[in-house]
Symmetry: D2
């Protein structure tokens, strides 16, 4: 059976206007239909960058555009590989589908959800591809085993490592898109790199993607852009403050539900997840509108903690932070005690959050797996690992940077009476 | 009393990173505090372009960023006017507040809401400024009458016409921002014009804003950009299709509520508006998360029309359209009959939608009031109306273009049995 | 004979980094070799926009980059046409060569040169393609008749009108590139349009290029961008002032040469052109370095007019201008008399310059020939002329705008003694 | 005497449209007049990036635009400093003049000229400011000692170190402009950084410029952008190849002149420099048109080396290169011998060129002096050196990278007969 021939082309190419890639081009019926499924359309209601919009107001873009972007980058790389006769065309559709669908399992504010409920968006992506969904039905119509192939690419178990590398590696279509897209929507100057130059120096070498030595600087530039984006955007302490609060709201709501609290606004779509009995069908009903709806409504609940945290989240009255130094660590028990004396529940109002990465060895938050090193193709045909050739990358390889912060509601501390010894204690410990 | 002196400056300027203006600069305590109010933060949950994201997936930006942008443009124009000694500094803060707050009364999908429920976002803006709100309290602390002044600027009754013109006129800070911003987020090439050149040729002339003749081409370019944005983006037929559906959902839900339908998901925040008893407090709880939450939930309601329309909206299964020609108008009754014969309720599934403007005499959707002509300042000090000097503008002035389309669910027609005479009739009338 | 097969591909694609198109891609040996000829490299020494750099200091770019850009646009359009099976591949190389070489006959400051010496850059382009040049030898090696074909495309006599239209029509690769490129280098906001959208709606229809109705707005936008570029950039009065002076220098130098003036710096490369005996070989030695070298040197010549005009040109001490009104026309003799009384030679120091175009019917300066109307492809397959469908274009079609200015050295007038009656007369007539 | 008050303002602000900074604003009569001098206008005829246009065809921009850009950046930084009351306004004009004039002493292809003739563009800048020039006369009219102050800023001997730092330091107005401008005109993705963020975190601290800790990432990003620009653009081996040839032409022409060679085209403007008797007056007549004029003409000279090198330069037939390894160094004598055997003059056709820098400790080519470290202002008011706080900068500080290449005319080697032992020897040594 020749899979290649069986994919139906659209009569006329369709395009999406995209601010990052100008146009996203769709020529295959299957891709067009996948975009039209309810599971894919749901990505419009899940922000690409979670709570980042509180820090960078432009970052309101959803995973929908990003998913189209990853597809488009994969499509263009394949075109270049085809032009160079480096590409097995029978892998085209499985690659494009995996690129398009790689994030389809994301739920609302995935990072916090995964922390509180132990969900796993990559597992859901595979379930959506393989389970009882519109997406699965479309994939399955392409021939038996096709859906499984797409899922295997996502799961990184697909035998053709080249295909896997295009979707998940240190320089994959996913990262190429999100760096550029997130830079565009936040408006920052970081995150730009020469996408087309990187494409031009990419080579398939056996089952891996390597880069011609002559393109080393473009790769260096990509590494440094990525590093800047992590520290300037993804790990921004204000974003993490909003995430801390969001996480605490979910914790509190779950606890209240488990304790039989009588909600004015019962979170119907969340009950199954609170009870640990959620199935795919339930998961697919969750999106950020649902969360925002309840958070807004819960400002009126009769639980002081829940309503306060929701007011903070909706109205951007976030926690402040201090560096979590070793001194602070040793004083933590005193701090908890002082919070307790001041009537502030430290379980919900005192939170350590840690971000960590290294410039060349980065993982996307929530992205698993060991990353392959980046390899350069030398003029003599051998492969050298990037850090061996690049002085800049070499000097920063393995250098790990960690940022640990302690989040707390400064306003609550400030409004304590000045004579309060708890206030004095807290201010002393936090150095504020 | 000298108002100017009484406004408190921030110790250190604060900025927002903005993709359109690079940075939004805040130097006044009042502006900073207004941005922090719950009424202003709510704008994060109301999209700038309603249903446009269905057509241009990048258009997911909210009115929050736009409001900051209008403020920033007003601030920069005032700086230029001050440099030229054309500006009465006692008007600065009232102008900046009006610029920042001009859209604060917008609700979710304002256009459709206003159509179905007769609400008026400008009225709400004034109520928010004058009523029992955080915003009002902040404004009122600046001295008696200050909040009223801001409301008067919004209401265009403020005596200083120059201030009014900066916020509402043919070339005001509002339009300058939204053209650039909407172009940026949709990614279209239209909508760009030379903002700084227009600022440089703006002059205050008595109580109006005029433009030096030497800047005529920049103004022409702005007019043409605006025209292109209207036809390419704001009036896009796919966007209007989504809006037609949204409007029908609201109609249907209201009707069902009034008829005592038993909702699985009772739209608590919408009840007052269904009953016509909504007050400001209720209005402020509405945002697009609320709407999206119920639309999603209602896919499961036991009303075939409501659940179908909600499925269409959530999953972008929109109505198709044909030009609503005079021939179609005369055949409309036959069409309704055929729909009825086919079992499709024409009240909800057949909708005429009309968009209309002229390149030089445009109104923003939902923006009222007669627009002042644009005046050029001639070298001899006289004022000439723009279309008198500009051949291009002259030739298109008053030229009105109207686009009327008939929207209907093509899928429902297609799936009728081929032998159905209703199907044949519908296809014949619609010419499909 | 199958021409298509005979063209040699490069082993590895080569690219030029281009600020407008990101990369210019070269895959054919012939294109690569043509770029390497001395005749093509000479375009680096001829500015794209003549004296415009005096007005927009960024406009220092040469015809070299533009020529690559036209080639690249033609290449991409052909790729799209090929994807749609609208393209006869045996026309590819002739089209690409014509695109690359279309401006190769330009000399230094062509506009002024053509005015003074009656040269014709299109004629030279054909001579370079057909004559004793490196370019001709390369083309000729591709098979007999190939060079002639390329020349025929430039001369618009090539039988395949589609190929001609790609290089010379209202929306051709030449104009597409120069609008975008000139906007980029000058830094103006005009001149942008959605290049890729226009490509997507282009269709070959018999022997002409037409545009799908759905792309009408993109074409409108292109027309308006073009109009703005003409009036804001190409016809800028300061640029024309520099051109007036340049023209007068050439006139004066020629006259002096003919009169046997003894130059300190004999313009060896210009002698043949002064004598009217210039052949291609001589022409190819001319570039803007030659002109600038002599203009600079001639500041020291013993002719007051020549040295003064050269000082003006080199140091940007340009002529001022007034509108050349009908009143001024009737007073022209008086003005000449007053100039003469003031000791200013009106032959060199008083010059009328006229620019004229209409928004939809534009010719590039120095571009000949009747322009074909732009045609839209209607959904029913018929062709409608653009102005019939587009209200905006319709209202401006045929509208011709003319700008006539009188240039003169204001400084010379100002420095006349105040009691001088000539000064009074001149100021009165010019209204200064 | 109060210098501040004495500077005349223009009646109306003047602007230059600039692709990098949108507009350059001029409000002072003196700045306007300086721009109009023949010495400043001459910068239009000297390219910003020398021979880089052979590699990046967009890099045809001159030092004129760059000089305006440096002035504009200095102007904006001063405005920010004034807003924060960090600035002594009596230093404004001397700073702006120094910013505008800092490059005015550059000659054509400065790098090569300085190598061959021992000229020094910084010395000429000072001479132009202090000597018999239009610029000097304008500066001198501002009061005695003013011109000297401007020259002292350029010479880095001015007592106010803050003023000196704005013009010459690791992050000065000069570098800020050239990185952005050169990136813009070449079209590369490198070279971008957040200019406005850097301005916002700049603080004057005593007599130095420091950066708030919160802006450390923006500074890191600037350092990395600079590094990329050096290796990707400024040190590009093709650019250096053209420079090698240019240098050899100047050497050859000087030698021929000294040996009494009879030129067909006597290089009148270069004679003084050949003879070592050039004075400022002569220097100011040199520009790149002069050089290009003679290089073009000399293609016809009767010296095989001179005419060949000129043909190479004009027609971009550059030398090829190999890494100059230690093995190659030991084989150099053999190589020279083989060249000699092959009849290729190694004095002109074999050239080692070395480029070297480190990412944090860079000097602009031709820029002297020890660079001050970059200091961060910590929240507690202390200053920390950048590499102490920034892991990335820390890991690369002092890391020096050197690139040494051997340039030679590969075409000459290739065309040697295959049986030639010299050819074999050369190919063996060069490994080609």
């Amino acid at each position: 059976m020749n899979l290649v021939r069986s994919f139906e082309k659209l009569n006329e190419e369709k395009v999406f206007k995209d601010p990052v890639h100008r146009y996203v081009h769709v020529r295959d019926r299957l891709i067009w239909d996948l975009i039209g499924t309810s599971e894919f359309q749901r990505l419009r209601r899940i922000r690409q960058l979670g709570t980042t919009f509180f820090t960078f107001h432009g970052a309101e873009h959803s995973r929908f555009g990003h998913s189209l972007g990853v597809y488009e980058i994969a499509r263009r790389i394949i075109e270049i590989f085809k032009y160079r006769n480096h590409w097995d065309d029978s892998e085209t559709m499985v690659t494009l589908c995996a690129a398009l669908l790689h994030d389809v399992g994301h739920g609302p504010f995935s990072h916090s959800f995964e922390k509180v409920f132990g969900t796993d968006h990559e597992k859901y992506t595979q379930e959506i591809i393989l389970g009882d969904t519109e997406i699965h039905r479309l994939l399955d119509m392409q021939g038996s085993g096709f859906a499984e192939k797409v899922a295997d690419v996502i799961g990184k178990t697909y035998p053709n490592r080249l295909v896997v590398s295009l979707i998940s590696s240190q320089i994959d279509a996913d990262r190429m898109d999100y760096l550029l897209r997130d830079a565009y929507f936040t408006g920052v100057s970081y995150g730009h790199f020469d996408l087309e130059r990187i494409w031009r120096v990419m080579r398939s070498h056996g089952d891996q993607i390597v880069f011609k030595l002559s393109g080393m600087h473009a790769v260096e530039d990509y590494i440094m852009s990525r590093y800047q984006m992590y520290w300037q955007v993804y790990f921004h302490p204000v974003t993490r403050s909003a995430e801390v609060i969001l996480t605490q709201i979910l914790h509190r709501a779950k606890r209240l539900y488990q304790e039989g609290f009588h909600f004015k606004y019962t979170p119907v779509p969340l009950i199954k997840i609170f009870e640990g009995t959620m199935v795919l069908r339930d998961y697919l009903k969750l999106d950020e509108s649902v969360i925002m709806y309840f958070f807004q409504a819960w400002q009126e609940e009769n639980d002081a903690i829940l309503s306060d945290l929701c007011r903070r989240f909706m109205n951007r009255r976030l926690f402040k932070y201090v560096e979590f130094t070793p001194e602070l660590l040793s004083a933590k028990n005193d701090l908890i005690e002082a919070f307790s004396a001041a009537g502030i529940d430290s379980e919900y109002y005192l939170q350590v959050d840690s971000s960590s990465n290294s410039p060349y060895d980065l993982y996307r938050p929530g992205k698993e797996g060991a990353s392959q090193p980046i390899r350069l193709l030398m003029p003599d045909g051998r492969l050298h690992e990037l850090s061996r050739e690049s002085d800049v990358v070499g000097s920063i390889t393995g250098m790990r940077r960690t940022d640990v912060k302690l989040y707390y509601p400064k306003d609550r501390v400030v409004e304590l009476p000045d004579h309060s010894s708890a206030k004095k204690k807290i201010k002393e410990i936090l150095g504020i």
